[in-house]
């Protein structure tokens, strides 16, 4: 992904396996959120390709899809680093908007739906049930009829995840979900993410791609970690291996130049 003269993400290639939590980590400005924006259609990559394969075998080339089809057909959902809820709408309404495309499949019978009959009403009842399920999972059931903007910060983060899950995604992209959470909330988040990984929206599990700065969260729940620095991948592997990787340590701690050279030399000797 290139912005004018700046290459924000350079020859990055990685795989997020189905049913796993893959974390993308890296220092500020490494290009993590840019990767998300390419994945979810906010940016169109200037080169390369991004492919999603569903459990059913359907394949989608994301860089060719219009944005609304990425969520609707390729079934990728995301959350945002700075929470983006529909603040003036209630918690439940936020979850109903997320099910827009499923509800609109009855679109041809719109006049009936306007009068309050027809199969649409059954679909809406199902949508409310699905919303209620995720409200229970995220502990927001008691606040269902409150304005989303009136929720405390941690609850807003959980609501954003619940909203993403209501689109029934195959891949859930979370941009710093633990930012600003206290340790207890962070622990609850880990449990929620494990649940999503194993059960997903339809009981078949859901892959998760995660950007996170909180290493305790990353190390606790990731199955696989990709490390970016200056738009390039510098490491890729299991959490235990990443923890030991000298390049990662160097990128994070910002070592002195000689030290970096020494690390480089050490790596070459191996």
């Amino acid at each position: 992904m290139r912005f004018g003269g700046l290459v924000a993400v350079d020859r990055l290639s990685f795989e997020a396996a189905r049913g796993e939590i893959t974390a993308i980590i890296g220092p500020n400005g490494a290009g993590k959120t840019t990767v998300f924006n390419c994945l979810t259609g906010f940016y169109r990559p200037t080169g390369g390709s991004i492919t999603v394969t569903h459990a059913g075998g359907a394949r989608f080339r994301l860089e060719r899809l219009p944005q609304h089809r990425i969520a609707r057909d390729a079934r990728i959902a995301r959350t945002f680093q700075n929470i983006r809820l529909f603040g003036g709408m209630t918690v439940l309404e936020n979850l109903m908007v997320a099910q827009h495309n499923r509800l609109m499949r009855e679109g041809a019978r719109l006049p009936l739906a306007l009068l309050g009959f027809g199969p649409y009403m059954r679909r809406e009842a199902q949508a409310i049930d699905r919303a209620r399920f995720w409200l229970d999972r995220t502990g927001l059931a008691a606040r269902a009829d409150d304005a989303a903007a009136s929720l405390p910060y941690g609850a807003q983060r959980r609501l954003e995840i619940a909203r993403a899950m209501c689109t029934e995604p195959q891949l859930l992209c979370l941009d710093e979900p633990a930012a600003g959470l206290n340790p207890r909330e962070s622990e609850e988040l880990n449990a929620l993410l494990r649940f999503i990984r194993d059960h997903g929206a339809d009981g078949h599990g859901c892959s998760i791609l995660l950007i996170e700065h909180d290493m305790s969260v990353v190390m606790a729940i990731s199955d696989h970690i990709v490390v970016l620095d200056y738009g390039r991948k510098i490491a890729d592997g299991a959490p235990a291996a990443i923890r030991e990787d000298p390049k990662v340590i160097a990128a994070y701690l910002g070592v002195e130049e000689e030290e970096a050279l020494a690390v480089d030399a050490a790596l070459h000797r191996q």
Binding site: F42, Q67, H68, G88, L92, E93, V97, D145
Partner: protein, 434 residues
């Protein structure tokens, strides 16, 4: 102690204001020039000056006391535990809509209501309908549209032209005018899909002017500035209203004495029905995914896109639906007036409709209806004030916006709920940047 100090402070403040009033007033009010026999003479008017200064002093003092009281009350409220359950205002608020509806249905049969009142009611309802139509675009979808009157014009001219060239009756033309206006809504929507906020407003403003200027200059089709006259009046399901009476007319069929009031009453009920259809469709659409998508777009466009909403489809449906109701209202306007010209579709009309929506509280159906009644009705009530009418009217608008900065009804009713429905406070609701 603090109270006395603040009182002294207020008196000092009021004295200062009185001093300024004296300074400004002395030459303006205190001296009057009279054209006497030998040139101008100055006549001092100390009494008037004194009265004005006293009025300023008293006004400033009372205003200060009012503000201090309010601050004290606010502090008390902040200390008090939050009140549980609906406030008495909310209970009264729930009564407003049914009462207004009953009043509008019964208006023509209320004793003492004559032709003037029914005509005024028709005018008010036309603006209620236009306000509700624009409310879809501005209030729900958050798209600032300054050219709404264009769709009103499309509806009016659409009906007039169809009647002239294809001899279509009002009832046959009505759905078509809505369709035309919706098409124009989409035509406007396409180029402005990527625009937001001020830029969107400017382009929609230009669109409104383009439609008007085309109507003004396409003389062969629209008659240009001379307008179009002889637009057929509506019939009562095929029965014309005629003063002559006779077999095939409304009066003749029902065995009534022919009266001009029949047509006026019929027009009143026609616009009432059209407005209620607009209201019904809007209320139902808000509970439909399409309406929820409009509101989601107003709240956060980026999040809507991430959830797989097609922003193109959402914006175009909002423009088209809003325009359609504008078109219906236009067709009604044409058949009511029997004559239309581009002069009826100037920018000030768009501004008036937008003012109704903003004053009513964006997105609130009841607020828009009340605001339309206040604005159009108020305009008539102040007719006796002649040249001061606009001044009084402007002051009233400023006062309302100071008192209720987010419109008369600022809270938002959720479209779906698990428990008891609670309205969302206006402070949470976004105004839309699109």
């Amino acid at each position: 102690m603090a109270r006395a100090a603040s009182l002294a402070h207020l008196v000092k403040d009021a004295g200062l204001a009185a001093l300024v009033a004296l300074g400004v007033g002395a030459p303006l009010l205190g001296l009057k020039t009279d054209a006497a026999d030998r040139g101008l003479t100055l006549v001092p008017r100390p009494g008037l000056l004194l009265a004005a200064v006293a009025a300023v002093f008293a006004g400033r003092l009372l205003f200060g006391l009012f503000l201090a009281n309010r601050r004290a009350a606010a502090a008390r409220v902040a200390d008090a535990p939050p009140r549980i359950g609906p406030s008495p205002y909310a209970r009264i608020g729930r009564m407003v809509a049914p009462v207004l509806l009953a009043l509008s249905v019964l208006l023509p049969v209320i004793p003492g209501v004559g032709r003037y009142e029914i005509d005024l009611g028709t005018l008010v309802l036309t603006y209620v309908m236009l306000g509700w139509g624009l409310n879809i675009v501005v209030g729900l979808a958050g798209l600032l549209d300054l050219g709404y009157v264009a769709f009103y014009a499309v509806g009016a001219y659409g009906y007039a032209l169809m009647a002239k060239f294809f001899d279509l009756s009002f009832w046959a033309a009505l759905p078509l005018t809505g369709l035309f206006a919706a098409t124009w809504g989409i035509i406007l929507g396409f180029p402005v899909l990527r625009l937001r906020g001020d830029y969107l407003a400017i382009v929609t403003l230009a669109f409104g002017e383009i439609i008007r200027v085309v109507l003004l200059n396409w003389t062969t089709l629209t008659g240009g500035p001379n307008g179009m006259s002889g637009i057929p009046r509506p019939t009562f399901f095929g029965l014309p209203f005629s003063m002559a009476g006779g077999e095939g007319t409304f009066a003749g069929f029902f065995g009534l004495e022919p009266s001009p009031l029949h047509r006026i009453t019929f027009l009143y009920y026609l616009i009432l029905a059209l407005a209620l259809v607009t209201n019904f469709v809007t209320i139902r659409l808000r509970r439909h995914p399409v309406g929820r998508a409009w509101e989601a777009l107003r709240e956060d466009e980026v999040a809507s896109r991430a959830l797989g909403l097609s922003v193109v489809a959402v914006k175009l449906t909002a423009f088209a639906t809003g325009a359609m109701f504008g078109g219906f209202a236009g067709a009604f306007f044409a058949t009511r007036q029997g004559f239309i010209s581009p002069e009826s579709f100037t920018f000030i009309e768009s501004a008036l409709i937008l003012a109704i929506v903003v004053l009513g509280g964006m997105g609130s159906q009841l607020g828009v209806a009340v605001a339309a009644t206040l604005m159009i009705g108020g305009f008539e009530v102040f007719r006796g004030l002649d040249e001061y009418r606009m001044l009084v009217f402007g002051l009233a608008m400023v006062a309302i916006m100071v008192w209720r900065p987010r419109g008369l009804v600022s809270s938002r009713e959720p479209s779906v709920s698990l428990g008891a429905r609670r309205s969302v406070g206006g402070e949470h609701v976004a105004e839309g940047k699109g």
